[in-house]
Amino acid sequence: MEAILTDCVQNSLHHFMYRNAIFICERLCAEFPSETNMQLLAGCYLHDNQSYAAYHILKGMQMAQSRYLFALSCFQMDLLKEAEAALCPANEPGAEIPNGAAGHYLLGLIYRYTDRRKSAVHHFKQALSVDPLMWAAYEELCVLGAAEEATAVFGDAAALCIQKQYLSHGSASQSLNMPNEDRSAVSARNFGPGPDDASPRQLKHMQGNNLRDIPGNYHGAAAVQSSNGGSSNISFYNTPSPMVSQLSGVAPPPLYRNVQPNVPNPSIPIADSSPRSTVNSTIQAPRRKFVDEGKLRKISGRLFSDSGPRRSTRLSGDGGANANVSATMAVGNGTSNSSKYFGGSKLSSMAFRAVTVRKGQSWTNENIDEGIRNENFDDSRSNSTLTTSSSSPSGDTRSLEQEGAVIPINADIMNGSRSISGASEIMDLLRTLGEGYRLSCMYRCQEALDVYLKLPQKHYNTGWVLSQVGKAYFELVDYLEADWAFSLARQASPYSLEGMDMYSTVLYHLKEDMKLSYLAQELISTDRLAPESWCAMGNCYSLQKDHETALRNFQRSVQLNPRFAYAHTLCGHEYVALEDFDNGIKSYQSALRVDTRHYNSWYGLGMIYLRQEKYEFSEHHFRMAFQINPYSSVIMCYLGIALHVLKRNDEALVIMEKAILADKKNPLPMYQKANILVSLEKFDEALEVLEELKEYIPRESSVFALMGTIYKRHNMHEKAMLHFGLALDLKPPATDVAAIKSAIEKLHVPDELEEEM
């Protein structure tokens, strides 16, 4: 009964029928309370986004998988201390982190959000070394500013690592199977004598065939299955990245344990080899085989004795279809029995997938059930042999198709040597993407753009890459190019919201209110609960100078995801526009709590202190922003302004020169330089600069106004008059009009220090 219920749950999860899964699972737990079943129930709740339920169920459990799921629920409920305690118990400093790479990743996130940057970095690096495909960990490292070069991380060693993972399926899938198997073992036992009977028979059977191979294959199968399961996991996961990374996390640890014995073993019994083929088969193998075993046992001990020769037939590569995905168990010999097996295995594979969804690594603790293992082993081996045939690749592909990356790898696995090229292709891709992302996080945007251009067209024209390109242009203050890149990104993936908050800011800068309101409307209609949509809406109102409504929208965005730094920063900007500096400071500081390298918030704080005339603070904050983004001419310009008001004019001028060089298109550093020169009474140099600036930007009122004031100081009244007139023609706002007109009036009055200047 337990097995049936478990299968049903797995099946429902596989089909995304969460309510059904939860209901059946609750019956399962009521009938057979065991930690594995509770894990399954918690997993169902997590799928259904009810992390509080999972939290209560898993509280206090000690199995590795339970601890991982518990930590995940705590993390989602924002109970970081408990999450950390679960993953890394205080009284067991040497305990292994559950779920390998995924566990490290989750722990890294916890450390990041509790301000322990070094530990976070350490764990993310661990996660990557265990599983080089954990892009999310690399991303976090880039955001924290601690990423190594992509070539180092996604290098050849990493490629080898992946190959091993997918080659030695044995360990991984075995381990994956373990949990299933464990559960099935439990349920099998509940059946009564069946499983137990089967086990000894199986054992003997095994022994009949190459005992040595058994453990190897078993592991292989497990490994394979786990990796497959992993991929399926990905498809099942709706929950945040730590879960996804599980996939990768699943494979490695068990894998490594079993690598040695596995690799040689599988090759021996199986003709064509590839233990990899076991991958596919293993996935399907586990549970269901279990149930079928029970029935089969009843049918015959003969079944088992038959399985020997059948197995060898299968082993010789009879070309059965991979039972994994398809029911095509076209096995040559012993078809009927095998089909039963495979039918079982197919179901079990589904169950397996569902189980893997749980990211269960309980196998680590519970690889105990010999009997079950053997059974699985048997099946998996047979499966693997079958998979060696051509149909298996398709099976593999099907099971794998849920995970794009894995597919090429698995397909390659079919062919031992191909796995190497597959892994290295993936590494190439990740290397380029990683390098590009790292450079753009360090604000070396031009280099990042060059790196992204190296991507093949099909990858470049995807939403994510185009968004990154847009982001790079945005940081370069090239808003037109950014607009173009982001609009392409929208075309490539119209449903994707990542980076759209930045797109809305680009449109804000370009003052394109039509496009911006259209974007905001579209985003809200796509997803009302995404922080990016409300950021876009807020930008729309801010552009129309309705700062109160904009602020409300940004606050909504913050409510939706308090860990979205940009929403806090935008709130800060609106508070400043409303002249509510205290709340502005609070908002900027919240943003910095989430992401210390968010230079916009440092800049915002600098601006507030500049307005409040706390010049030392202002200079400090601008300098922090400058350290994070040393390529931004705008930040350099403001640092210069802060130094100028602190009367450190020499340093100010140095920075201004740097700013002028950094971005030729930015007129402000030149203007500020002129301003500083005026205050230093170096009027001629100032005029030179302003003349140059005038050529570049002919219609800027403030340039003429400043020139007018300089001429006025020199008593060159006509020139002053001319320039003031030109300044007025360019329609400055009322305050400037007043200032300029009064300056004109005073032209004929002996020169005194004017307040406006």
């Binding site: 930015n666 007129p667 930007i697 800027e700 200032a739």
Partner: protein, 192 residues
């Protein structure tokens, strides 16, 4: 609504009011920064009704004329425009007819800067505080006092439905002598 709105030099006459409140873009409302008080009020129709953005509610005075609305700031602010919402059709004898605007540092040194005569106004009434001189575009002050000297039809008490104060926007970039006008300057002038 109506068409004419004539203003004299010292004393202005306004014959109508606008239905819609339209203010230039480079002005912003400053009332939120001030402490508002009135010389007298009827319970339920207090000073809050002057600032609640609701044209149905009004302030009703309850004492001797002149009725005063005092607006005090913590720092000196530049003010350019005062806008009142009054309605003869609804308030008749409660509608103010002569208004005087005074400014100063506090109650002790208020000086009159503007007077206005309203003739059956109905809607938003704009009272500019600027002088003729360009140097006098703004009134830079700690306190403003709006005094209702007399009402239509010789009414004793007055109804005012809403008052708004406007002044120039500050330069978005601090410590600059002038505002930026061109797109290039504005684009590069801030990080968002």
């Amino acid at each position: 609504m109506a068409t004419e709105s004539s203003e004299g030099e010292e004393e202005g006459k306004i014959t109508s009011g606008n239905h819609v409140l339209i203010v230039e873009d480079d002005l912003r409302e400053l009332g939120k920064k001030a402490a508002w008080s009135v010389s007298s009020c009827k319970p339920g129709n207090g000073v809050g009704s002057l600032r609640d953005d609701n044209l149905e509610t009004y302030w009703q005075s309850d004492g001797a004329q002149p009725h005063l609305v005092n607006i005090q700031f913590q720092k000196k602010v530049k003010l350019q425009l005062v806008v009142l919402y009054v309605d003869f059709k609804l308030d008749e004898s409660y509608t103010p007819s002569k208004i005087s605007i005074r400014s100063g540092d506090g109650f002790h040194n208020l000086k009159e800067i503007k007077t206005m005569e309203l003739i059956k106004p109905s809607g938003w009434v704009y009272v500019s505080l600027s002088g003729n001189d360009p140097r006098e575009t703004f009134v830079n002050t700690f306190m403003l006092q709006i005094a209702v000297l007399s009402n239509h039809l010789n009414g004793r008490d007055t109804h005012v439905r809403q008052i708004k104060l406007y002044g120039p926007r500050p330069n978005p970039i601090p410590h600059q002598p002038f505002h930026f006008t061109s797109r290039e300057f504005i684009t590069y002038s801030c990080v968002r």
